[in-house]
Amino acid sequence: MDKQPILQVNNLGISFSQYTKGLHRVDLKVITNLDVELYEGEILAVVGSSGSGKSLLAHAILGILPDNAVTEGEIYYNGKLLTPEDMERLRGDEIALIPQSVNYLDPLQQVGKQIKITIKDHEHQDEVVSDIFQRYGLKKEVENYYPFQLSGGMARKVLLAMALVSDSKVIIADEPTPGLDEASINEVLKDFRDIADTGRAVMMITHDIQAALKIADKIAIFYAGTTLETANAADFEGDGSRLRHPYTKALNRALPSNEFVPVAGTQPLPNELPHGCLYSDRCPKKTKKCEVERPRLKEIRDGKVRCLYAT
């Protein structure tokens, strides 16, 4: 591929230094060997189960992890290695986060004012805000609301509007769909598609693979703190035989719209990770080699996969 990714995460690892008992501290490795690439005009969905730490990826890119977190690996933006200072400069300007809930807004400031902070063009702030409000069907007076006055749907739109007016090139949406019904989900998803079509890059972090499949160009499958596969959305069509990793195949088969068959076992906990491949304890194709060697990411059929035997 000759196109250069706007955002590239290489071999990211995040661990937390935590107390267990008394003064005994352990490093809890929550994310290991995670690779993600994001291109302009594209939607990448990072799909993984809830509570598995995938939001940390967004927090790592923005540089807003808590103090007891230790990161390794590299994050490149436009081909340039990001330092913590860069992250601070870029976040909100070039890289915007659409957080999970209005709890991320300042509860004591009117939403209109909060949106205006993110607009660089100070002279036309008012017009930009009223334009975007009109586009999302938000009434003028919503500008004067405080976050607690927003209904669920309004809140979503305000958060979305905030990311849009910022002229950011990369938008990261953290779990944008929970609590919405089918119609609202479709609306949100359509918005993301529109955003991507204007040439921006969208990373959607979600547990809902069905929602992701509707709009994403690429799907990164997040499992036990790593990405096992990056597939094109089209690979999921049909019987999923174009998918590369055994886990992705199993995930596709487990969908209620497909066969709804489970796989025994569970995702390993952060401090019980298998020594070799992270999926080795549940994998039907497992060999001795899988138990000792962590597979490297390799490129197969225009996608990436972390499996020794993927074809």
Binding site: S15, D27, E272, L273, D281
Partner: protein, 288 residues
Amino acid sequence: MMEQVERIQVPQGPLFKFGVREKAIIAIGLFATVFIVILIAGSLIPEDSLDVDLYNIFASPSLAHPFGTDWVGTDMLLRTITGLYLSMKIGIFCAVTSAIIAVLLGIAGPIFGGKIDYVISWLVDLVLSVPHTLVIILVSIACGGGLTGIVIGVTVTHWTSLTRVIRAEVMQVKEMEYTKISRKFGKSKLFIAREHVFPHVIPQLVVGTVLIFPHAILHEASITFLGFGLPPHEPAIGVILSESMKYLTSGKWWLAFFPGASLVLVSMMVENIGRNIEKIINQKTAYM
């Protein structure tokens, strides 16, 4: 081979990597030691060591008498420690008693609800709405003054805020899904209060109790200073301070300065212990 536990030990160099817990524990340990030393010292000072020494009255601070001496030549350091010892005993007693009242009322209100809760909330509001000092003076006089009077007075006024905190916590836990599920499993109210609610109250209780202490001793001292608390023959800080007022204008600053500063320092230390315990117990900061 599989299931291999990946626990990496953090190098625990005691000098270069201090987490929240280490810092908190060091602070607590340090202040608690000072606290206990004062307590022990206070209990070891015999009554007759507060001797009259008329050759040595109003000595300013020196090596022999670091805190100076008073109008009858008694060593002020000894008087201060004895005073602190008494204050601390009163403080501990009031804090513990207030905390017991707070737990009982704070849990009983929401659990039984209805009129009981109403009465308890009304009592809390009533006590909180009148200035503490005033209530303590009134209660203290009504109970015949002296040690008993001041202890009852301080206790009666200090259980309220902790009761409110505990009541709020209980109300919240009571509405949690896991508590309601427990009801559907056929668990009794007593089981829920003991197993579900109480563990959530403990942190607030411990911190709250410790934080009542500085309030209690400062109130005791100020009431005594005003002349409504402990009688003049008691070795209390409040008595020392009010006595020193007579000599301040003649430049005997040490009579008030050292006892007063010691009392404030003890209060600040205990306050600090409370804050640090909070850091360790609070789930948000405890694991970092």
